[in-house]
């Protein structure tokens, strides 16, 4: 089976400036969205208490709230989790140091009116741990960017490195914008998703860069812009197929993997779609705009041989 009969011949680089403008615009929009609307941080980062319980039959949220009010928890967030017999209760971090006891108190309160309520999950994150997880998450992202930038600089060239990292930042911001827009919870696994996405998206960029380098060697007389275009076209099919297989497994995860990987899979799905575009227009496009030249990539002694 094949999608194209031969290597496609699309002049991607003709719209490189438009592409970069569009990306910049979208990036700024996503940043503004995150800045003003914020993210729906999970308790991993905010701290607090989360209790998930399962009732033997459907339950009214108001009766759950009443039970909790009885135990002096006035403003908990109570919502259904999937079905009307699964209930999720959240409490913000308490000031007093004994908030670890809160989860026990909540369960006691629920047990009082329905002895058969089943505990599914309790998560309590103290504020100090929440702060640390936030810092570590941010640090992990930053170090990943730096590590990848250096690796590409070492394997390719700094202009490519700038392009690649710009694409990664772009992808990460777009995913954050999506999460802000849809208000999907942002937890530790979401950070994992973004880090995986960074690696994945960079994979795309590297495949194109590799091809550019190879073509620069074999197509001596071709203009750099044409070489880039050819490379993007040559790797296009592979990109499409890889994205397809990745989207397939992510769909499986989203449909069957349960609620705990929901934010993980949806964040990655958006990221994979964005990465398709950014690997062409942001990373490669930026490298071209930065005037990447044949000499940047082809070792000097080879060009000497050319003269001879």
């Amino acid at each position: 089976m094949r999608i194209f009969s031969g290597v496609p011949n699309i002049n991607f680089m003709a719209q490189r400036k438009t592409g970069l403008w569009v990306s910049s615009f979208l990036t700024v929009a996503a940043i503004l969205l995150v800045a003003f609307r914020g993210l729906n941080f999970g308790i991993d980062f905010t701290g607090g208490v989360l209790v998930e319980v399962h009732y033997p039959q459907a339950v009214e949220l108001d009766s759950v709230r009443a039970d909790l009010a009885h135990a002096n928890y006035e403003h908990p967030v109570v919502q259904y989790f999937g079905t009307s017999s699964d209930v999720l209760i959240r409490l913000p971090p308490a000031e007093d140091s004994n908030s670890a006891k809160v989860s026990t108190a909540i369960l006691d309160a629920l047990h009082a009116s329905e002895p058969n309520v089943e505990l599914r999950r309790v998560e309590f994150v103290g504020p100090q741990v929440g702060d640390e997880l936030t810092q570590d998450g941010a640090l992990a992202l930053l170090l990943a960017f730096i590590g990848i930038a250096f690796y590409i600089m070492f394997r390719f060239e700094w202009k490519f490195s700038v392009g690649a990292v710009a694409a990664l930042i772009h992808d990460a911001i777009m995913v954050l914008g999506f999460l802000s827009l849809t208000w999907i919870e942002f937890d530790l696994t979401t950070v994992a998703a973004i880090l995986a996405l960074i690696g994945y998206s960079n994979n795309e960029t590297i495949v194109i860069f590799d091809r550019v380098r190879e073509n620069l060697l074999s197509q001596r007389r071709m203009e750099i812009l044409d070489v880039v275009n050819l490379s993007v076209n040559q790797t296009l099919l592979r990109s499409v197929i890889t994205h397809l297989t990745t989207l397939l497994v992510l769909t499986a995860l989203l449909l069957m993997g349960g609620k705990s990987v929901h934010s993980f899979s949806s964040a990655l799905m958006v990221g994979v779609i964005v990465a398709t575009y950014s690997s062409i227009y942001v990373s490669t496009g930026l490298a071209v705009v930065l005037n990447v030249s044949r000499e940047d990539l082809v070792p000097a002694e080879k060009s000497d041989a050319d003269v001879v």
Binding site: H54, L119, R120, A140, R155, A192, L237, I241, L250
Partner: protein, 618 residues
């Protein structure tokens, strides 16, 4: 087409076989089992098998296996009901000297276990259980240590006949005033010699001397406080009777407690949150304890307490000779006469004061006061649980001082059982710094089971979808890719089992995601082969070029994904680490399977053909 190097084929076969072998334990499943350990941590007695058999026989329970396994005794059962009944029977007949815990035992056959093969361990989010992160309040321990010097230093100077004019505590610093700089210098020299753990500061133009704890001393205090807590927590967790509990230090001042399959977090929290400390104090013999207890009037400088055994009133002097923080070790032993004893080791601070005290108190009695904060749950008339903090203060030991001692001493005149329990209480009382629960994650068994089911279904569906696509799109070569993918899955499972990394929900997500990414290597290669064919290259050469050219690209791409996962592993917490591990293992193994594995298959099928008009890759 060039013949494929033999060593690569052999390597592939060997890796496949090894992978299959070490992934194999995961298919056998688990038996309900009871795990038995001795409370003291001593090895099990020789006739233990007979004891267990006897206990089970009286209840008429037939175990499906009973033997020692890695330090503990494991009794297996065919059904879960038998397991519960047997655990009760064993607890009753074996008594307090043993910890009987419910657990699961893998059905992996012996020959596999001998090869070091074991099933994957499941994270708490898959098997259910509780996870606590406790923070040791080291500030408290440090403050307590620092505050001691405001009384210690003046005492020391008085003994050395060096006159000071004032003393005060400024935060964690002890400040001493002197009449002139000469006296101060003498004091500085004397203190520096006696207290090497202090950093002394004597500013010019003033006559004060400031003492603070040195960096290394602070570190030692913190380490010690955490270590003490760790030991105490282990003891307490052992009382719970949980199979495979984990109590581990994390970072500078945190302790992780993980208890698989435990759900009653209330009991665990009460147990973990209990704080205990102990104080060595002199017994006041001048006043009458009985009359103090009757009248409620306590002589000045003393306090009234009761003994743990017999509730006898005793007056203790207020001055604390040594506290729990000074206790380095306490163990039940036998003394030189062969009678049971508890040997106690104090740190230098405690030893010094113990020496000074015993020097002038030979023949007089000394008591150990045990203080514990117990949280108790009581139910009121409406059945609403009420939690109450209760301070328990008891004298656990009174012994007369037989000689002058400091660092090491023994408490004798005890029965073996008394020695054992005193040693345990002393250790528990050594819990110097308070702990606080800073993170809790409890997963109920039903959620754990759901997570396994969902993860497995998602993985299966993902595998199915990718396989279907590859087979349709790349025909025979697609099948090679699927074979490589399956081998890769086996290898990931094998490596996970071998290294003992726990599989978590994000870990499963990592495996699923990785299936999508792993075929990328094959896609890259196959697209290359197609391209070569389009350019008119012969099929055999096209295969070769496809693989050779794609190798570096794949390696480059994989390195960058590994950079991301490495960061995640280094900085991620708990289950997310599981994601990083599975993804990283998957990437490393796929580099092998996608390139060596699928290529060997391609060679095997097409390598011998002299003429190939077309490759089944379109």
């Amino acid at each position: 087409m060039q013949p494929y190097p033999l060593w690569k084929t052999i390597l592939l076969v060997v890796v496949t076989l090894l992978g299959a072998l070490y992934a194999l334990p995961n298919v056998y499943g688990e038996d309900p089992a009871v795990q038995i350990n001795t409370t003291s941590g001593d090895p099990l007695p020789v006739d233990f098998a007979a004891q267990v058999d006897a206990a089970l026989k009286t209840e008429g329970i037939q175990p499906s296996g009973s033997r020692a396994d890695g330090g503990h005794w494991v009794v297996r059962f065919a059904q879960a009901e038998q397991q519960l009944k047997a655990a009760d029977a064993l607890k009753k007949s074996l008594g307090n000297g043993y910890i009987v815990a419910l657990g699961l035992a893998s059905k992996t056959p012996d020959w596999l276990t001998k090869l070091g093969a074991k099933p994957m361990s499941l994270g708490l989010d898959l098997r259910g259980g509780v996870h606590f992160l406790l923070e040791v309040d080291v500030d408290d321990a440090r403050k307590a240590a620092a505050q001691r010097y405001v009384t210690d230093l003046p005492n020391f100077l008085r003994k050395k006949d060096i006159r000071y004019t004032g003393r005060r505590q400024e935060g964690e610093r002890t400040v001493l005033d002197f009449a002139d700089a000469v006296t101060r210098e003498a004091a500085r020299k004397a203190i520096a010699k006696e207290y090497p753990e202090l950093k002394l500061d004597a500013p010019d133009g003033a006559t004060t001397l400031t003492a603070t704890l040195t960096e290394s001393e602070v570190k030692r205090i913190v380490d010690f406080a955490v270590q003490q807590n760790l030991t105490t927590l282990r003891n307490r967790v052992n009382q719970l009777g949980v199979a495979e509990p984990l109590v581990q230090r994390q970072g500078a001042n945190r302790i992780v407690v993980q208890l698989p399959s435990v759900q009653d977090t209330t009991r665990v929290k009460d147990l973990l949150g209990a704080t205990a400390t102990l104080e060595y104090r002199a017994v006041d013999e001048t006043g009458s304890a009985d009359s103090a207890a009757a009248s409620g009037i306590v002589p000045p400088g003393t306090e009234l307490f009761y003994t743990r055994e017999g509730r006898r009133p005793v007056l203790l002097k207020r001055e604390v000779i040594a506290a729990g923080v000074n206790l380095v070790d306490a163990a039940a032993t036998v003394d030189e006469n062969g009678t049971p004893a508890v040997s106690v080791t104090l740190d230098s601070q405690g030893a010094k004061r113990m020496f000074e005290f015993t020097e002038k108190s030979v023949g007089k009695p000394m008591a150990v006061l045990f203080r514990e904060t117990v949280v108790e749950t009581n139910y009121n008339a409406e059945g609403v649980p009420l939690r109450e903090k209760r301070e328990v203060e008891e004298i656990i030991s009174i012994a007369s001082i037989r000689g002058v001692f400091g660092k090491r001493f023994q408490t004798t005149g005890l029965t073996s059982k008394e020695a054992h329990s005193l040693a345990l209480l002393l250790k528990a009382g050594a819990l110097a710094a308070p702990v606080e629960i800073v993170e809790e994650r409890t997963v109920g068994p039903s959620l754990g089971a759901d997570n396994i089911k969902q993860g497995f279904t998602a993985a299966l569906l993902g595998l199915g979808l990718v396989s279907l696509f590859m087979a349709i799109y790349y025909k025979v070569f697609g099948l090679f890719a699927i074979a490589a993918l399956l081998l890769n899955l086996v290898l990931v499972v094998a490596v996970l089992s071998l290294v003992g990394a726990a599989l978590t929900v994000p870990g499963i997500a990592g495996i699923v995601l990785h299936m999508g990414i792993a075929v990328d290597a094959n896609v890259l290669i196959y697209e290359r082969i197609r391209e070569e064919l389009r350019n008119g290259t012969k099929p055999g050469e096209a295969i070769q070029h496809g693989y050779d050219r794609a190798f570096l690209t794949i390696a480059d791409a994989n390195v960058t994904v590994l950079i991301g996962t490495a960061m995640l592993f280094a900085l991620g917490a708990g289950p997310v680490k599981g994601f990083a591990i599975t993804l990283a293992i998957g990437i490393l193994t796929s580099q092998f399977t996608a390139i060596v594995g699928s290529r060997a298959l391609a060679q095997l099928v097409f390598g011998r053909r002299q003429r190939m008009s077309d490759l089944p890759i379109w």
